[in-house]
Amino acid sequence: MATLDLKDIRKSFGDVEVLHGIDAAIKDSEFVAILGESGCGKSTLLRIIAGLETSSSGQILIDGKEVSDRTPRERDIAMVFQSYALYPHMTVTENIRFPLELANWSKDDINEAADKAIAMLNLQPVAARKPRELSGGQRQRVAMGRALVRQPKVFLFDEPLSNLDAKLRVQMRAEIRDLQRQLGTTSVYVTHDQIEAMTMADRVIVMNNGKVEQFGAPLELYDKPANRFVASFIGSPPMNFVVGEINASETVREFIFEDMRLKLGAAQLPAGPVIMGFRPEHITLSRSGTGGLKGRVITEENTGDRTFLVVDVNGASMGVTSSTRLDVGTGDHVTLVPDLSRLHFFDPDSEMRL
């Protein structure tokens, strides 16, 4: 049980700074996902937390104690690697016992803890096998077992599900989440898959270009993205954006884009140019209508439960999804009316949420 605090973590390789001051306070027992595209620095950050790499500056505190200059073994952490990194020359049991032997546990304690972990992960049938004789899912479980058996202060996961097929991934997602809840161990989980991050984590750190874009609960990221990057990154298909103008008079506030005028409520928005965002799933589509964006359907995809349209609005492509079947086809002229209560506005210069 532990808290994990990151304070202004910076990392440079040569002249190139890849982490530009990461701050995060992770609570005890919390499951935090670090979400970002490859190359955004999320793995480097995790490796710095693990002690496999040193930061150029900044502090890491586990349970309030500074560990930045400690070796991995002194930090009392466990890590599940993307490739699992099981010891190829040891059996499943030996793999799971190994960390305990290194920690000089007594024989009896080791046996008990290892047996418990093996039972917990349903690994009894393969306990005597070597890693190369296991399926992907079983290897994944062994990696988990090796991490949890020592009851470390913090679990670190480096894209642990990326080598599994889609079906197994969904199953392991739930298993990892349940195990973490059961054990209550503070966890940091690196992934590029937003579904994993949104479904598993208590809170998500969205990273981009070595910076934290937003740190919040999954629905917070969806409902109140802190900036345009998070808005477009979270949600699939991504949010639509139009650049327009806020017209604020005494009585009424309007968003004006070409011949679309949307009456806004009491939102305190300054007059002037602004980026408006709206999600594809928050749009009402009509054949002919006013008060919306006029456009022409370019493509239409139907998955049965959902319809996805791409609509060309004056050269810009806008996505529209609907859970009801829409009676429109390619080439039809339509009007998109965004849901007024779910609009997002961003400053056109800083791209921050207004």
């Binding site: 390789f13 490796r47 496999l52 790499e53 040193t54 200059d69």
Partner: protein
Amino acid sequence: MSDIVQTKRRMPTDKVLLHVAMIAAVIITLGPFVWIALSAFKTQIVLLMGDITFSPVSYNFDEVLFDRRSTYPQNFLNSLIVAGVSTTLVIVIAFLAGYSLLRMNWPRWILNAFLVWAMLFNLVPPVSLASAWYELFRTVNLSIDLVALTLAHTTLNLPLALWLLISFFREVPRELEEAAFVDGAKFLTLLRRVIVPVMMPGIVATAVLVFIFSWNEFPVALALTNNKTATVPVAIAKYVQEEEIKYTQMAAASVLSAIPALIALIFGQRFIVKGLTAGAVK
């Protein structure tokens, strides 16, 4: 990479100690070469006196290279011919055989037979082979001819080359050849335009190694040559057998004989490492 970065900050003393140890190892490795190179520039008397400081002379090199009685230039030429011709033969024969064995649907046991030959051949002391070849070439009156030595060296290095080239062939994707076939290439065109270019690093690695091994080979050359056809190693061995050993000339001849190795090391280090490790790892 990350390891270096990580430990640089934490414990620079470890790295310093490692570098000191490595430099000591380099001195032990190179020291003897430096010493013999220095000796080659001394006169016999200076060497025997064991003086530390001396004024370098080129006398030994003059004697070895330009003296009328010296056979060294001839020896050097012999070595070049034997190593050059046998390397060419080895590469061509092993390349064709390797390609044929791997890609032309030979029964599995034929490939295995060649690989086992390649392995077993390594176990046989070259002296035994030297005696076998000596007997064989004597019956056809070739026993002291450069042709005999060239053929012997070709046979000696063929298994190694076959072994190496087969391991390099395995890295060439079959689709590449199939694409060439679909494009209408004939066998020789396929080899010349597709396989050889793709295999070039492997071929060079093998050729460098085979050349060096042929250049260095001693027991077979000793058995199959006379004064006129002697190769460089045989010539150097002869210095020792003379009544009064000309140490400094031996040193000079040794330095000259190391030239191919030095050239290979400077220009082909990458290939040598590739060749030496590929043979063992596979």
